[in-house]
Symmetry: C2
Subunit: 426 residues, 2 copies
C-alpha cells in the first residue's frame, strides 16, 4: 500500500474537521479505500488558536505557499474560502502538476472555467464536490452519472441559513428579523448574514449547478439574484392558505432558446418534493427526458458533511495518482447562450392593498389584461376602508408581469402592491 501526501490550505471548521479525520481515521480510510492518506502540511492563519484537535506543530505553517510547494504534498486541498489568495494558490498547485480538491463555491463560480482549463492542460484533477450541497453528492452525479442526460431543469435549495429562516417563518409565524436572530443564536447564520440572505451564496452555487447541468460556463455574475430580506410573514400565511411554501430556490433551466439561471424567493406547491425540505437541509431536484425527476437531499453545510465530501474527492484523486494516469476531463464548458430572466415565463403571487369599493376589481383586472397577464386565482382578505387582494397569475413573460406590477401601483384604487413573489411553475 502506497501513501499519498495531502496538504491542506485552511484550518477553519472544514479544514480542522478534515485534518482531524485524516489523522484519526487513517486506518479506517485505508481499510475501506485501500489507500493511506497522510496529512503532510496544513496552512492556518493562527497556529495558536485553540482547536478541538491538537495538530502536531511541525505540520502547521502560516505560509500557504509552503504547503503547495512542499514536495511531500501530492495533492492540495483548498479550504480557505473566498477569492484571493485561494485562486492564486490553486492555480499555483495546478501549474505545478498537483491535483486540487476544493470546497470553495465562490472560487469555482468566479474562476472555475480558467482553473478547469488549466487542470485539463496539465492532466490533473480539480474536484469540488463540496462546493454545492455539502455532503450531498451532486457535482459528480451531474458531471458523470448524468453526463448523457439532456437535463431540462435544476431546482436547488442550496443555502441552509435561508431555508432555516424560511422554515421558522412558516412554522412559527415569526418575522424575518426574529427568525434571522434565532438562526444567528444557533450558529446557522453569520453575524453579517448578507451573503446568505441576499442570495449571493446561493447564486454562486446556482452558477456551478447550471455550468455542470448544461455543460456551459455560467459565472456567478450571470445569475439573476434576489434575497429573502423583504419577505413579509403575512404573505407566508396567505401563501400557505393557497397551498404554497416559500423557498429560496436556485433555478437553472433550458428554455429552448438558451439557459436561464436565477435565485429568488419562490412559492413552491406543498406537494412538490422540495416543499418538505425543511430547516437547514439542502436538496437538489432535477428533471430530464430520460430520468424524469431525481431528488438529492441532505445536510448542506457544516464541518462533518463538508469534510466527507472533500474526503471523497481526495480518495478519487489519490486513486488516479496511484494509477499513474492523466486525469480524464470530467467537465466540458462551452460558452453559454444565456437567456435574460425578463424573457422567461413566470407566475406571480401579488398582494394588493386596494380601496374597497365597487368597480375596483374591474379596474385591476383591466390593468392585468392590458399587459397580457391572466389571473389564475383571486382572494379578498378582510373588508373595510382598505381591502387586501391576493392574486396568483398564470405564467406569462416576466417583462409583462413587471410592467403589470408597475401599472397596478399607479392605479388610484391601488394603495400599494404590498408583495410580489414568484410562484414555481410545476
Amino acid at each position: 500500500m502506497v501513501s499519498i501526501g495531502v496538504g491542506i490550505l485552511g484550518g477553519g471548521t472544514v479544514g480542522g474537521a478534515l485534518a482531524t479525520r485524516l489523522l484519526t481515521e487513517q486506518d479506517a480510510i485505508a481499510a475501506k479505500s485501500g489507500l493511506t492518506l497522510e496529512l503532510r502540511h496544513l496552512a492556518v492563519r493562527d497556529p495558536g488558536k485553540p482547536r478541538p484537535y491538537v495538530f502536531p506543530p511541525n505540520l502547521m505553517t502560516t505560509v500557504p505557499e509552503e504547503v503547495v510547494d512542499d514536495p511531500e504534498v501530492d495533492l492540495v486541498v483548498e479550504l480557505m474560502g473566498g477569492l484571493e489568495p485561494a485562486a492564486g494558490l490553486v492555480m499555483r498547485a495546478l501549474q505545478a502538476g498537483k491535483p486540487v480538491v476544493t470546497a470553495n463555491k465562490e472560487l469555482m463560480a468566479t474562476t472555475g472555467a480558467e482553473l478547469l482549463e488549466e487542470a485539463g492542460r496539465r492532466g490533473v484533477s480539480l474536484l469540488f464536490e463540496a462546493a454545492v450541497g455539502g455532503a450531498i453528492p451532486i457535482i459528480r452525479p451531474l458531471s458523470e452519472s448524468l453526463a448523457g442526460e439532456r437535463i431540462t431543469e435544476v431546482l436547488g435549495i442550496v443555502n441552509g441559513t435561508t431555508n432555516f429562516i424560511l422554515t421558522r417563518m412558516c412554522q412559527q409565524a415569526t418575522t424575518f428579523r426574529e427568525a434571522l436572530a434565532e438562526a444567528q443564536s444557533l450558529g446557522y447564520a453569520e453575524t453579517d448574514p448578507t451573503a446568505d440572505v441576499s442570495g449571493a451564496d446561493a447564486a454562486a452555487k446556482a452558477a456551478i449547478l447550471a455550468s455542470l447541468a448544461f455543460g456551459t460556463w455560467v459565472g456567478r455574475d450571470m445569475v439573476h439574484t434576489e434575497g429573502i430580506e423583504s419577505l413579509d410573514v403575512a404573505d407566508i400565511g396567505f401563501a400557505a392558505d393557497l397551498g404554497y411554501v416559500p423557498k429560496l430556490l436556485a433555478i437553472a433551466s433550458e428554455t429552448g432558446t438558451g439557459i436561464a439561471v436565477r435565485v429568488h424567493p419562490t412559492l413552491v406547491p406543498v406537494g412538490h418534493p422540495l416543499a418538505s425540505v425543511s430547516g437547514s437541509q439542502n436538496a437538489i431536484y432535477l428533471r430530464g427526458p430520460g430520468v424524469d425527476e431525481l431528488l438529492f437531499a441532505g445536510p448542506g453545510a457544516g464541518g462533518g458533511p463538508t469534510a466527507t465530501a472533500v474526503l471523497g474527492d481526495i480518495i478519487e484523486v489519490a486513486r488516479e495518482l496511484l494509477a499513474g494516469a492523466p486525469a480524464p476531463p470530467r467537465v466540458r464548458l462551452a460558452p453559454a447562450g444565456l437567456r435574460p430572466v425578463a424573457e422567461l415565463e413566470t407566475s406571480w403571487y401579488l398582494r394588493l392593498e386596494v380601496v374597497d369599493r365597487a368597480g375596483v376589481l374591474a379596474r385591476i383586472a383591466g390593468a392585468f389584461g392590458d399587459l397580457g397577464v391572466s389571473i389564475e386565482s383571486m382572494v379578498q382578505i378582510g373588508r373595510g376602508e382598505t381591502a387586501t387582494l391576493i392574486f396568483v397569475t398564470h405564467p406569462s413573460p416576466e417583462s409583462g408581469s413587471r410592467r403589470a406590477i408597475e401599472a397596478l401601483s399607479g392605479l388610484d384604487v391601488v394603495r400599494q402592491v404590498a408583495a410580489a413573489i414568484r410562484v414555481l411553475i410545476a
Copy 2:
C-alpha cells in the same frame, strides 16, 4: 474529437432505448461531453422483432461474441440480464482489455467480486451505475463521493414493482392479489412476478449496496430475504392507525460486530423520508457520522432512466479511454464479517387473534416477558368471542422475538399470531 466505438449486448427495453439514443442524440451527447460515441455493433436475440426504432441491419447480430470481439468496439455494454451468457461475455470482454458497462444486478451481486478483480488486473473499468436504482446515481456516490465516510446504515426502496403494490394496498385498501393484478396490467409487474414480490430482485440490489457502502463483498445469497406475498391489507390499515407505512426495505447496517444485510417488509414511521416514496419510485437513504443522513430518490427502472445511467457510465469510460489511462480501481471488497439476522435487534408489529376473556393479556404479557421482549404499545381491535390485539415490541434480539412469536402461538388463549411484521428502528 475522437470517436469511441460502443458495442451493446441485448436489444430489449434498455438496450433498445440506449441504442436509439446513441444513434439519434449523437450530436447532443458530443456537445455536452466532448465525445463522439458511435454504436458499432448490437447483439439481439431476434433481429426481426418489431422495435420502436429501426436499427441499421448491418449493426445487428445474433451472436453476442461477435460484438465483444469486434475490433471496432472499444467498450462493451451488457444489457442482456441474467447470469449466463452475460457473465461469460463480460469476462471475455475484460480479458480482452475492453472496459464494460452493465446494468445487470444479478450478475454483479453474484459474480461481481471476480469480475471487478479481473477488471482491476487488466486496468479497465467495469461500471454498473444502472444495476441499482435505475437513473438514481447511487453506485458512484457510494464508491466515490462517500468513499471516506464510515457509513452506518443504508435503507433502500429498490424495487418499484413491490413499492407500487404496497402503495396501492395503502392508498386504496386493495388486497395484495388485486394490487399485483393492477401492477401487471400497467406493465409494472411481470407475468411471473416472483423475482419482484419474493424480494429476490431487491436482495441482489441490497448485496450490491452493502458491498459498496462497507467495502466488503456481500453476495446475493448472503442476504436474508422475505417477500411481500403474505402481507394482509388489514394489517396495513392497523399499521396506518399506529403511524406506519409498509415498505419492502433493503437494509444494510454496520452493527459494530459485523455487517447485516436483509430484505423484508418493514413498517416505516410516517415521518421518515422513505415513508413518502410512493408508487414505482425508488429511493436510497443512508446514514453516517459525517453526513448525518442523505436521501436519493427517483425512477428505479424503465428504459429511459436506465439508459441514462448506462450512458453516464459509457461517457466516463470513454473519457478514460481517451485519456489513455489505466482505470483507477474504484471499489475495494474485503471479505465481509457478516452478522446473522437472528442476532440483530428488531422491533415487531404483531397481530394476535385471542380468546376475549379476563386474564388473557396477563398470560400474553408473561410470554413476552419470559423471552425478554418488552412491549411498546398494545391496542385491542373489536370485542366478542375472539378479539384482535395489536402489539408493537421494543427492539430486542431477533432470535428472542422469534421464540416469543412461537411461544405465543402455543398459548391456549391465542387462536393465532395472524401477522408479524418488523418495524423500522429509527
